[in-house]
């Protein structure tokens, strides 16, 4: 999925690769910490997604890198050149960093061509015009060059904003929730187009989003942020399959949560016994199970647990089952399972549940 399955529209390596390195960034507004010791690197041609709940500091990190905020502590380098620290602040216009804004921030009093040409101030006028038209044609808007931004649809405005930021071949591309103002259908289309443009330009990119699906779709690597820290950094698969915290597990997908107690390095639950390495006997743990890790069967299998179907919701390709598992001592637990909808499931039915351990995460409670 990461390599485009169609020929690139640009010659490969339009820009030579640049590298970003930020380390030890701390930031405070008024009396609250927005960033607490954040370090991050982006390799040439790599797309890094910053995800996290609102207020986690991801937008601030982006603004620090763009130079729109001054660094209070820590440092930012591009290609080994220090561009921001507590003592040094290269102005945003001298950083050669492209930024795509959440609301696109197109200049309302300029045509699309003038918007795209705005960042090409150093080139001669004729060349500015031709580069702008070239960029517009690359996003499929060459015939709208003389239009004003407000006559465009949201998706078209987003493409112009992207073309404008890319036109001057910045050393680094920053995207601040670029799709959040678009409706869902358009968002999917724009993700594909944007990914292609970014990969074609071979620039290092950082994209901020609060949508985990979007991050997994776009990113080579994801930095999950919470309360001003990067809590986990890795590939989309790592974040989904090997979450390092309950927060990470819950952020990237639904989970069922069962409280349990560790016995000899294992957590015993009504749904089975799971590895709980490194937790002392008697320690309380929480067991998180992804809904798709619960498999329902009509007949009993070795190790399966009987469960009652409380409700069944058909959701197209799969069904969501609400299941209750009851122990002999009367304890019971209700979980959700995501199962192929081809099976005939109905409320009141008894099914037999097995668990795929790959979708189970155990953390100290």
């Amino acid at each position: 999925m990461k390599t485009p399955d169609f020929p690139p529209a640009l010659p490969a390596g339009l820009t030579t690769g640049h590298r970003l390195h930020a380390s030890g960034l701390r930031h405070r507004y008024d009396r609250s910490d927005v960033l607490r010791d954040v370090s991050v690197s982006v390799a040439p041609g790599e797309i890094l997604c910053l995800v996290g709940p609102s207020g986690c500091g991801k937008s601030t990190l982006l603004r620090l890198i763009a130079g729109l905020e001054r660094v209070q502590a820590g440092s930012i380098e591009i290609d080994g050149e220090l561009i921001a620290s507590a003592d040094r602040h290269v102005l945003p216009e001298r950083r050669d960093v492209g930024l795509v804004f959440q609301d696109f921030a197109l200049f309302p009093h300029m045509s699309l061509a003038d918007n795209v040409a705005f960042g090409l101030g150093k080139l001669p006028r004729a060349q500015r015009k031709s580069v702008a038209l070239d960029m517009l044609s690359r996003v499929g808007l060459a015939d709208r060059a003389d239009d004003a931004p407000h006559v465009l649809s949201g998706g078209q405005q987003q493409r112009v904003a992207l073309a404008r930021a890319l036109a001057s071949r910045p050393r680094l591309m920053l995207l601040d929730e670029p799709f959040s103002n678009l409706d869902v259908r358009l968002r999917h289309r724009m993700r594909i187009d944007t990914l292609r443009l970014l990969k074609d330009s071979n620039s290092a990119s950082i994209m901020v989003t609060h949508d985990p699906d979007e991050a997994m779709f776009m990113a080579d690597r994801i930095a999950l942020m919470n309360e001003g820290r990067i809590v986990q950094l890795g590939s989309p698969a790592e974040l989904y399959r090997q979450p390092q915290s309950p927060f990470a597990a819950e952020f990237f997908g639904d989970v069922n949560r069962i409280d349990a107690v560790a016995v000899q390095g294992r957590a015993v639950t009504l749904l089975g016994i799971f590895d709980a390495p490194g937790i002392a006997d008697g320690g309380r743990v929480q067991v998180l199970l992804r809904p798709e890790a619960l498999l329902a069967h009509a007949q009993a299998l070795p190790g399966s647990v009987p469960a009652q179907v409380l409700a069944s919701h058909m959701l197209g390709g799969y069904s969501l089952l609400e299941l209750t598992v009851q122990a002999s001592d009367g304890r019971q637990v209700t979980v959700q399972a995501q199962v192929p909808s081809a099976g005939q499931w109905h409320a009141g039915q008894t099914v037999h549940v097995t668990v795929n351990p790959a979708g189970v995460f155990v953390f100290p409670a």
């Binding site: 602040h89 216009e93 609301d103 200049f107 705005f118 101030g121 931004p149 930021a165």
Partner: protein
């Protein structure tokens, strides 16, 4: 017929419509009467006016407007850019201190500078000492009593009309676009001229047109400084020649200028609705200047505050203290303060009540005719005080005389000059002139109440009046209170209409000051002026609070300070 009336009026109750229509008629009455007086006019004076008075007055007024226009745009937008785009020592204080000159009415700044700027006054004596001259004959500044003096002084107190909207725009709406310009490699100058200034043009146009209306409305400064503007000519034609038709004719010329100002403003902001697209954007983070440049910026920003507020206000404090220690708290000042307060309070109450009705009528139905009626009722703000007063003289005299003769005939009692003699005329003029200020403020307050709340109340069986009383009155209270304060202070400061319409022997603080300055006496004028300036500071406190204070308890980062754009105060409704 039913469907037609609903289409035109939007199904608003007849009572609401009736009040709105009556208010609109009363506001437009002076203008209509003006036209009829001017048309039936006296042939004998017009040739004289057309040949000797009007050309000079027109030329002076236009020259004054042009000069003041350049000054307010230059100072207003320049200062706004400095305090929003750059960080330098004292910026936070200057941010609101630059509003202070708004507290000094034009006639007071002229009153203060007449003495300050006098060849042997404090300013020039100090300057001579600084430069090593001993005698006024060796060194003196040009006479302030001139056209350029008038332009300078009016510009110094009127630039906040441009500063306020330009600052709000740079900081809020344009914040994201200015950021975008920076990340695209544009330096500060390119960003200012290519992005910030074009975006702010509508806001600057609105502010400049308000400032120019104030300049046109001014009577004190122009007269003290010897500039024969249209306003001064209208006043002297009526007072010295007792010619109502003559004054009405000049007033019509002045209305034409007002109309072209409005047209100019509309033209300049024709594309405004697209300019405010960047609503989600972050608030602009100012750029820190090097120490030397920071000091330079500080010095530049201090100039308008010093000249437009600190110097005249300081002068008034010193003079008032001197007078106070000499004569104590004078009876005449107490009486005039009382006059000023009660007449302003009565006018404020009427204006607020009517504005509430107008704003609520408008809210009930956005149908074309209702809309037009409400807009007509708000037109008074554009009519200069002198013009309004001249236009009112005719209808008031007619009403008083008719009532008096009818009463004498039927009851044998003379009612005398019921309206003109009682101050009712003055209240009428204040309400007509400042109704737009209160209705604009109340409308803005209502706009924060979702329409679904009205619908919910109506569907629960409440009448329109009950909804207004139970929903809009309590929820709109802060906006209504703010509007009341603005109108109250505007009434206290009002001079031109007060001069023409006040009852005999009725003096307000403003007319007292005018009288002393016109006679060239400086007795307790400074005390009166100081009281007016102090009252004028109240709305500024309100403006600066509205613009800058986050709701308590909510953390506000530059990234999240989005809502603040909603609380930018509007100076005036239009």
């Amino acid at each position: 017929m039913r469907s037609l009336s609903v289409r035109l009026f939007g199904g608003v109750g007849a009572g609401w419509l009736l009040v709105t229509a009556v208010v609109a008629t009363l506001v437009l009455l002076p203008v209509l009467s003006l036209a009829s007086h001017a048309l039936k006019g006296s042939g004998e004076l017009w040739p004289h006016l057309a040949a000797y008075v009007l050309p000079q007055a027109l030329q002076d007024s236009l020259f004054l407007l042009a000069g003041v226009g350049v000054m307010v745009v230059f100072i207003g937008s320049g200062m706004a850019w400095l305090v929003t785009a750059y960080d330098f020592p004292g910026r936070r204080v200057l941010d609101w201190a630059l509003l202070l000159p708004l507290a000094v009415p034009t006639y007071i700044v002229a009153f203060a500078y007449l003495d300050l700027w006098h060849p042997v006054g404090a300013l020039q004596t100090g300057l001579r000492e600084l430069l090593g001259y001993s005698n006024p004959r060796e060194f003196r500044l040009p006479d302030i009593r001139s056209m350029w003096g008038c332009i300078l002084l009016l510009g110094l107190v009127l630039y906040p009309y441009v500063y306020l909207p330009a600052r709000a725009l740079f900081q809020m709406q344009a914040g994201g676009l200015i950021d975008a310009s920076r990340t695209l490699g544009a330096g500060p100058w390119r960003t200012f001229f290519r992005v910030a200034l074009p975006l702010a043009r509508p806001a600057i146009a609105v502010g400049a047109s308000l400032a120019l209306m104030e300049a046109l409305n001014d009577i004190g400064a122009a007269e003290f400084l010897g500039v024969r503007t249209l306003t001064v000519s209208i006043y002297s034609t009526w007072v010295n020649r007792s010619s109502l038709p003559g004054a009405a004719q000049i007033a019509l010329v002045m209305l034409a200028i007002v109309l072209s100002l409005i047209a100019l403003e509309r033209w300049a902001r024709r594309r405004q609705r697209y300019a405010a697209s960047s609503r989600q954007a972050a608030r602009l983070v100012p750029r820190r200047l090097s120490p030397l440049r920071g000091l330079l910026a500080l010095a530049v920003c201090c100039v308008p505050v010093l000249l437009g507020f600190a110097m005249p206000a300081g002068y008034l404090v010193v003079e008032a203290a001197r007078r106070f220690s000499f004569a104590g708290l004078e009876q005449i000042i107490l009486r005039e303060t009382f006059n000023t307060l009660w007449i302003s309070a009565v006018a404020t109450l009427f204006a607020t009540a009517l504005a509430f009705v107008l704003a609520y009528t408008l809210r009930q139905a956005r149908a074309p005719l209702t809309h037009a009626l409400v807009r007509c009722a708000s037109l008074g703000y554009a009519v200069p005080g002198t013009v309004l007063a001249i236009g009112l003289l005719g209808p008031l005299a007619w009403f008083d005389n008719t009532l008096d003769s009818a009463s004498s005939q039927f009851f044998g009692i003379s009612t005398g000059l019921l309206l003109s003699g009682s101050g009712a005329a003055l209240v009428y003029a204040y309400v007509a002139r400042f109704l737009a200020v209160s209705s604009g403020g109340i409308e803005a307050g209502f706009s924060k109440i979702p329409h679904s709340v009205d619908d919910a109340a109506r569907s629960l069986g409440a009448s329109a009046g009950r909804v207004a009383g139970r929903i809009h009155l309590p929820l709109g209270r802060p906006a209504i209170a703010a509007a009341m304060l603005l109108v109250f202070v505007d009434c206290m400061k009002e001079l031109p209409a007060t001069l023409l319409l006040r009852p005999l022997n009725f003096e307000t603080l403003a007319t007292h000051l005018y009288g002393e300055a016109a006679r060239g006496t400086y007795e307790s004028g400074a005390v009166a002026a100081l009281l007016i300036v102090l009252a004028g500071l109240l709305p500024i406190v309100l403006l600066s609070r509205l613009g800058h204070h986050a709701p308590a308890g909510k953390r506000r980062t530059p990234v999240e300070a989005v809502d603040a754009a909603d609380s930018v105060p509007t100076l005036n409704a239009s």
